[in-house]
Each structure stands twice: as C-alpha cells, then as structure tokens.
C-alpha cells in the first residue's frame, strides 16, 4: 500500500511542475519574432482573412487570456492546432511520440545491459587491466557527442560494410503493408530492430558511460560495507557476495543517475533523429520551429517535459521499491 500511495503522491507533486512547463513554453512561444498570420497568409492578405485567422487562433485577445485558454485546453487534452500540418497538435504528437519513446527506451536498455556488467567487473577487479579498459571506455563515452557517434556508425556500418540501414526507424508494431519488403509481423519486427541498432547505440553510449561510472563507484563502496566483511568472515563465496549482498544496495545511485540521464537522452533524441532521419518528436519540434508553427512548438516542448517528468516518477517509484524507507519514510 505504501508504494501505491507514494506513486500517487509523486504524481500529485508533478502537477505544479507541469503547469510551470506550460508557463515557460507559452512565454517562450510568445517571444518568437514574426507574425503568425503573415506566415499563414503571405505578406498581403485580405482584411477579412486576417480577422478570420486571428479569431480562429485567438490572436486578437490579450496574452494572459490566451494563456488561460491554452492552460484549460491542455487540461482537457487539447494542445491546439498545427498550422503547418493542418492537424490537431495532439494527433501529430501521438503519431511521433511512440517512435521517440521506442528509441529512448531501447537506448536505455542497451546502456543498462552493457553498463552494469562493465561497472561490476570494474569494481571487482579494481585497478587491474579490466578496470582500466572499462574506465577508458566510459571516459570516451561521456566525452563523445552522440550525433558524431551516429555519423561514424553510418559511415562504417551503413556505407562501407552495408550491415545496417542508414536512415528511418519503423515501429515493430507497424502494419506490414506499410513496410517495404515485409509481409508478416515478424518481418516487420526484424526490419525494425535492424533499423534500431545504430541509433540505439549512438543515443545509448553516453548513458552507458555514465551508468558504468556510477555502478563502479557504487559497487566499490558497497563491497567495502560492514555486512560484506561479515559475509566474508562467515565464508560466503566472493561471487555470491557480489550477487546477493553487494549488488542490490549498489543499484540505488544507479537508478538516480538513470532518472537524471533521461533529460540528456530525450534531448539527445533530437540529434539522433536528425542524424538517422527518424520521424519522431525531435524532428517534429525542429519542423515546428523552422515553420514557426507556434502551437506545435508549445505542444512538443510540453510533451518533452511530460516525458521527462513521467520518466523521473518511474525511476523514483523503482527506487522506493528497492529501498522502501523512501515510501514509508518521513511523511
């Protein structure tokens, strides 16, 4: 029960933050130079056209009134209308968001799966060759621009070796009719994973490096704990100590760093999507900006914020699950 109550409490806490995000986005969108009416209708529109557009988008009303309208719209799930695509903003987001989530979640899975063994081995063999290799790998990982990794992967694995496709990312649950060369759902999944490999590595490398660093230092600390000494004194085998005693405790800082890494990863998705020409949220916000599509800019920025807030809540709940003191604590 404690965990459920904690989750609800964290969700309630995020409401002011979400309102804050909407405020910032609205303020920034309001500052964008240029007249949206002119962009839509060209430099010399007819007067009645201008008035019709202004009334439709509420541009004839003062800013605070528009803000309240927008806020209540968001609360009821209406993010406005995209001028560029001539479709509701929410519809565009629902079309693109799964692609970005698919990419980001896969990147994190790749990072976790590679980083945890690397960090544990590094901590177990502290200051030995394996540790040095792992530390150099993670140092390079945190220092390399993700989009450059993407470019290098494309040059090597797409252009020279021809192993992976250089662009696009079909979703694994897409309709086989829409995917070239795929007839069954299984083939769609295969095509999708084939496309996913390179962007996943490009986006996940930074996370992998950061998680490795934390996993290593956390495991080093955990292996020096009193209970580990006790277990050793009782003659528990070293591998069992690592698996049963040191590992779980050491994961708490790792979960925290995963939560913090979400911001970098979602931002990095904009770059990765550009490099691999993936039609996700990142490309959507760039298209919105290049076409001065105000409501789409606000909607996508807000949605990036929501994705981050939800991600942080998920990691917080995972933290509370491993360390119940958080959920049952000070309240």
């Amino acid at each position: 029960m404690g965990l459920l109550r904690y989750t609800l409490w964290r969700l309630a806490q995020s409401i002011p933050v979400l309102i804050g995000i909407i405020t910032i986005t609205f303020f920034l969108a309001n500052q964008i130079p240029g007249d949206p009416v002119e962009i839509m209708l060209g430099p010399t529109p007819a007067q009645e056209q201008v008035e019709a557009i202004q009334a439709r988008y509420g541009l004839d009303r003062p800013a605070h009134e528009r803000f309240l309208t927008y806020l209540s719209g968001v609360a009821s799930g209406d993010l406005g209308h995209s001028i560029y695509y001539d479709r509701p903003v929410l519809e565009m987001i629902l079309l693109r968001l799964p692609v970005t989530l698919y990419l980001t979640v896969s990147a994190f899975l790749f990072a976790i799966v590679t980083a945890i063994p690397l960090g544990v081995i590094s901590a177990k063999r502290r200051n030995k060759p394996a540790d040095h290799v792992s530390r150099i790998v993670s140092l390079i990982g945190v220092s390399t621009p993700s989009f450059w990794i993407g470019l290098m992967l494309i040059i090597i694995f797409a252009f020279y070796l021809g192993w992976f496709p250089a662009r696009g990312l079909p979703l694994p649950w897409a309709d086989p009719a829409d995917i070239r060369g795929a007839e069954t759902q299984l083939q769609v999944i295969r095509t999708s994973l084939h496309h996913l490999a390179m962007p996943m590595v490009a986006l996940g490398t930074l996370q992998m490096a950061q998680i490795t660093r934390i996993e290593r230092s956390s495991m080093v600390e955990s292996l020096q704990g009193e209970y580990v000494k006790l277990a050793r004194a009782y003659g528990v085998s070293e591998s069992k100590i690592v698996r049963k005693h040191a590992f779980q405790v050491a994961q708490l800082p790792v979960i925290t760093i995963i939560g913090l890494g979400l911001s970098t990863a979602l931002g990095g998705a904009v770059l990765t999507e550009t490099v691999f020409e993936i039609q996700g949220m990142g490309r959507l916000i760039i298209t919105a900006i290049n076409n001065q599509d105000y409501e789409l800019i606000m909607g996508t920025t807000f949605m990036f914020g929501v994705a981050f807030v939800v991600g942080v809540i998920v990691t917080d709940v995972a933290y509370a699950y491993i360390d119940p003191r958080v959920a049952y604590g000070d309240e």
């Binding site: 933050v17 804050g20 920034l28 989009f147 470019l151 955990s222 916000i285 996508t300 807030v309």
Partner: protein, 326 residues
C-alpha cells in the same frame, strides 16, 4: 553507509572550524594544485585543457585584432572560399577519386575547398568561449539562487526551488532550442541558453552545502556578531563550497561544449562562415560517402577537448576528496 562516524569525512572543505592542522591545510587553491600535481591523469587533463585553451586564445587574438590576417599570412583564411583548391581533398596519405592529398592541406579540404585544419584551429575559439561562458552563467546564477534559497529557507526556498525544478524538467537541449527560437539563433543566445539550463546543477550543489553549513557554530557566531546576511553568504558560505563547485564547473564546461556542438549541428549557434566544430559536422553530413574523413576531424577535436575537461574534473575530485586519498 558507514555506521561509525569518520572524523576525516566530516571535515572535507569546512575544516577551518575543527582546528586540526592537517585538516586545515586541505582547503584552498595551493593545496589543490599540490594534489593535482601528484595525479598523472589530472596533469594530463591540465595539459590538454591548457593546450586547447592556448589555441583558442591565439585564434581569438587573430580573429578580434587582425581579422584572420595572421591565418592568411601563414596558412589560409578559415572563412573565405579559395578559387583554385580542389574541394573535399582527402587528408595526406589517403587516395580516392579526388586525387592524393597534398601536404599543404594535412587534413584535407572541406566542401568549399577551405583547409580543414585551419578551420578546426579557429573553431577552438568558439568551443572554449562557449564552454567557459555558459558554465560561468550557470555557476553565478546557480550559486546565487542556491545560496539564497538554502540560507533563508521557508517560502523563498520553496519558490526558487520550484522554478529551478521546472527549468530542469524540460530536457535541456529542447529548452535551449525553444529559448533560441524565441530570442535569437546566434551564439550569444546559445551560451545564455546553455548557461540557464546548467543553473539547476549548481543550485542543487550549493543549496545542499548551504543547508549543512548554515547550522555551523561559526555561522551562528557571525550572525550573533551582527554580520549582514549578504556578507555571511558571500564571505563564509560560498568560499566553503569551493571544492565541489570547482569540480562540477570543470565537468560542466565539457558538457556545455557538447551541447553547443549539438546545437550548431542543428543550425542553432555560430552562423557560417564562422568556423565551429558542430557546424563543420553538420556540413560534413552531406559528404559522408565521398569524404568520410571530413566528418572525422571535428568530432575528434570535440572528443579530445571534452576528455581534457573530464579528466581534469575527475583529477580535481580525487585531489579534493580526502575520502579517496585515505
């Protein structure tokens, strides 16, 4: 984690009130430098950062004072398109359909026939300026907000923390892009934008230090003696947080360079023809097949620079954290 109190860890940077001579010497710039000199990795960091910064300073002098005249005298102009040079020359030692690379262009030429090495050299100026300026903005902003917030507590703390939390809640690349769309696409706004997004990092660090220092006896004593709040914050609390802030700032410079390179790659930041690494990578995207090395160099430059700041930051952390030394 440890159940027993460890006398060494309790006196990391605020050793001045404990009175023990050995601990007292653990603060300040001189001690830091002494520790860093002992650490090979940190020294490598210092040399790399020093080398890159020196190049940036030379490039800046040539840009601001001589308008690239020095570059033209010894090499080529980093901004003007030459007439006779072939485009997309490969670097020395490589051959492809564009012919052998010539020694005059050790790294080859770009899509407009400009020398890549010269453009990399002058691109250093942008990377280093951006790294230091953006981190400086974040450092000053975050330190002030964190110190005020932690020192006063109460509603001031609540309001300031909710604001920084909200800034933090928008993925920072997205926030900077939205910020630059609103105010301007050039480098100044890139620096301010990245600076603003790093405010929460320093805010969190300083605030937690302040909250723990606030209750110390010497702060009580200063307050009782009638020292103004502003002076307590500026003279006692902020200097006492020197060590962790220095480490964080060094690492943050690397992060800022990476973010601004990403922004330039997307077309936000230094505008052509000003040479910048991110923009060179962006241009190289269209020539990945005929001239793959064009994409290689700017990335390597970013990598080496950021590694320099990261190992310097790690080295400083090892030098300043007595727990690791003992």
């Amino acid at each position: 984690m440890a159940t027993e109190p460890d006398p060494q860890t309790d006196t990391t940077a605020d050793g001045s009130e404990s009175g023990a001579g050995e601990v007292e010497a653990r603060v300040g710039l001189r001690y830091t430098l002494k520790q860093v000199k002992r650490d090979t990795t940190a020294l490598m960091g210092i040399y790399t950062v020093g080398f890159v910064t020196l190049i940036a300073v030379l490039a800046a002098i040539d840009y601001y004072i001589f308008d690239y005249a020095v570059a033209e005298m010894f090499w080529y102009s980093p901004v003007q398109d030459p007439d006779e040079v072939q485009r997309l020359l490969p670097p020395v030692g490589m051959e492809n359909q564009f012919g052998a690379g010539v020694i005059e262009h050790p790294m080859g030429t770009d899509h407009r026939g400009r020398d890549i090495f010269v453009r990399l050299f002058y691109g250093t100026r942008i990377a280093i300026t951006v790294g230091f300026m953006a981190t400086g903005i974040g450092l000053v902003g975050g330190t002030l907000i964190g110190a005020v917030s932690g020192y006063y507590g109460g509603w001031i703390d609540d309001v300031l923390q909710r604001i920084t939390e909200t800034i933090y809640a928008i993925p920072f690349l997205v926030l900077v892009i939205a910020f630059m769309t609103a105010f301007g696409r050039d480098l100044t706004f890139a620096m301010i934008g990245v600076g603003i997004t790093s405010i929460p990092v320093f805010n969190r660090l300083i605030r937690s230090r302040v909250v723990s220092i606030r209750e110390e006896d010497y702060i009580e004593a200063a307050r009782a003696a009638g020292v103004k709040d502003r002076n307590i914050i500026l003279r006692h609390i902020i200097p006492n947080s020197f060590a962790p802030v220095l480490v964080q700032a060094t690492l943050q410079i690397g992060v800022s360079i990476l973010i601004v390179a990403g922004l330039s790659f997307l077309g936000f930041g230094a505008q052509p023809p000003t040479p910048s690494w991110g923009q060179m990578l962006s241009a190289s995207r269209n020539y990945m097949l005929p001239a793959p090395t064009f994409s290689l160099w700017p990335g390597m430059a970013i990598l080496v620079t950021v590694i320099g700041f990261n190992i310097l930051g790690d080295g400083l952390q090892d030098a300043l954290d007595p727990r690791i030394n003992n």
